[in-house]
């Protein structure tokens, strides 16, 4: 050899370091315990590469709006227009005072955009990165992080719609709105679970994204978003069966200035725990096969 690694490292002050100190150990025919350990390692490795995941998500947004004057603020505008339109139509239909209905609607729609947007993008978590998955070994968590970051950036661009509507109608939730941060924390964990679960299922079965699409369409109508739960009265007994309802409430109620009830919290935590467990088992089971499905 011309010059050994030691010489190269000596001049590393102004050159790039040599890739070193890495170990790759891949085995087949794993016992379940080993599979779970590897799934953990995937997440830990992905957290270590968080700068990559965040940059990928950020570049996705930047790319989508490259060449557009308003950029991602088109999101803000389209949500604003949607709130005004739906608010006008349903406010009249339901004979509701716009003063209390519009803030509720703006908040609900923006929050539902987060859930609906995340679920549909979770389906392409892995398939959209197929080129990357086939060319380098990378923790799958990075791809999930990319989707979650994208969703958070979209949400932040929609936030002004809520703020403006609240300001116009003089709604002030007070300090209790900080409680919604706990709700957002639960959402974040669920979002990663959704990326793992739907991303893996949709990579294997290409039928799933359209199914997910129509399920979410139905969910939009059977969840109190454009209508309020109290409008159902005694006919609303089935609402707790809709997991989206309680998940929405843990964020929405504090932002409207009310404390989310223990019942709602319990329900959403149980739903999230079951969902995360399912996602975890599926991911641990199929992680090693994902590259083959691209």
């Amino acid at each position: 050899m011309g010059y050994g690694p030691a010489d190269m490292d000596a001049i590393s002050e102004h050159t790039l370091p040599r890739l070193s100190h890495a170990t790759l150990d891949v085995r087949s025919a794993l016992r379940p315990a080993q599979r779970h350990a590897l799934a953990w390692r995937d997440i830990a490795g992905g957290l270590g590469l968080w700068r990559l995941g965040v940059t990928l998500g950020w570049l996705d947004i930047k790319l989508k709006y490259r060449g557009s004057v308003l950029g991602p603020f088109w999101l803000t505008i389209s949500t604003g227009v949607m709130v005004a339109a739906i608010g006008g139509v349903y406010g009249t239909l339901f004979h509701m005072a716009l003063k209390s209905y519009l803030p509720f609607l703006a908040l609900s729609l923006v929050l539902w955009n987060v859930i609906g947007g995340l679920v549909s993008e979770a389906c392409t978590t892995f398939t959209q990165s197929d080129g990357m998955i086939r060319s380098v070994r990378m923790p799958f968590f990075v791809h999930a992080l990319r989707v979650v970051v994208r969703t958070i950036i979209s949400f932040l661009h929609n936030l002004p719609v809520i703020v403006v509507t609240f300001a116009i109608f003089g709604v002030s939730p007070g300090w209790v709105c900080l409680q919604s941060l706990f709700g957002f924390a639960v959402w974040t964990v669920d979002a990663f679970a959704a990326c793992f679960l739907l991303g893996a299922l949709c990579a294997r079965f290409r039928d799933i994204p359209p199914i997910v699409g129509s399920v979410m369409q139905i969910a939009f109508y059977i969840t109190p978003i454009v209508w309020r739960a109290d409008q159902l009265g005694s006919k609303g007994w089935w609402l707790p069966l809709n997991p989206f309802d309680s998940l929405l409430e843990i964020v929405r109620q504090p932002m409207l200035g009310e404390v989310a009830s223990v019942e709602v919290w319990t329900l959403s935590l149980v739903v999230s725990a079951v969902f995360c467990a399912v996602a975890w088992f599926v991911f641990a089971r199929v992680r090693a096969r994902l590259a083959y499905w691209m």
């Binding site: 070193s20 890495a22 790759l24 150990d25 590469l49 080129g131 086939r134 079965f205």
Partner: protein, 254 residues
């Protein structure tokens, strides 16, 4: 000390065509208790079979064989992209796999953004990413194109960027597919020094190529792959001679 240890590795590719990807078929099969049978009947391509290779610092291995012999799949398996169905792959040492010219580059992003992503993937700091950028820029000579999306590049520029980026990162274990040997003459001449330096700097080289002259130039040991199996393993010259079917020791035709 770098080390590669491939123990009895087999890789199967499931062929998902039409019905195998269908959720309906799978659900119906599961409902009628035929899931197990369905899985056994699934069409698979046996890409690698019982591969056993052990390499250590200083080894330069060439992989030869016809198209579809499993060379690229073997490289991807060593890189940890495909996890084997049987066996174990152990790689000790920082690994860089130069598998295809695009190397997962996003064609919609600019050259600079693609360089940044590669730097982040390798865990580089801001300062180091700037060094990487400078290094690639010096080699690829893209000028102002560096800030344009890669899809606007000429094919030559894409190759220069991909090559410059891939070879800017010096690994301990270098896996290389044959496209690195391709390219027009002027590019090859320019790339040669750079390639030579990264190859010499690597503790272990695994090179897959059709071009036997390239294999003979870089490698000391050669494995001849055929239908996913190792057909012959040994001294570079011997294996290449057998592969070409013309032993150099035999009297030359006149």
């Amino acid at each position: 000390m770098a080390r590669i240890s491939i123990e009895n590795v087999s890789v199967d590719f499931p062929l998902y065509h039409g019905s195998a990807r269908s959720l309906k078929k799978t659900v119906l099969a599961a409902a009628s208790g035929r899931l197990g049978e369905d899985q056994r009947q699934r069409v698979v391509v046996e890409a690698l079979r019982n591969i056993e290779i052990h390499l250590q610092t200083g080894d330069r291995l060439g992989l030869i064989g016809t198209n579809g012999a499993g060379k690229t799949t073997l490289l991807r398996t060593i890189a940890g992209i495909y996890e084997p169905v049987h066996g174990r792959v152990l790689v000790e040492g920082g690994l860089n796999a130069l598998l295809d010219p695009q190397l997962g580059m996003n064609m919609d992003l600019t050259g600079r953004e693609n360089i940044m992503l590669r730097g982040l993937y390798n865990g580089y700091s801001k300062q180091q990413i700037r060094l990487l950028e400078q290094d690639v820029q010096d080699f690829a000579e893209l000028g102002e194109f560096l800030d344009l999306p890669v899809r606007f590049y000429s094919s030559g520029m894409v190759v220069r960027l991909g090559f410059g980026l891939a070879t800017a990162i010096r690994p301990e274990v270098l896996l290389m597919d044959e496209w690195f040997m391709a390219g027009d003459a002027s590019f090859v001449a320019k790339a040669h020094t750079r390639l030579e330096s990264i190859v010499r700097g690597a503790d272990i080289l695994v090179l897959s190529s059709h071009i036997t002259s390239a294999v003979l130039q870089w490698c000391t040991r050669v494995i001849w792959m055929d239908h996913g199996r190792i057909k012959m393993d040994g001294n570079a010259q011997d294996v290449v001679d057998c592969y070409l079917g013309t032993p150099t020791l035999a009297p030359a035709l006149t």
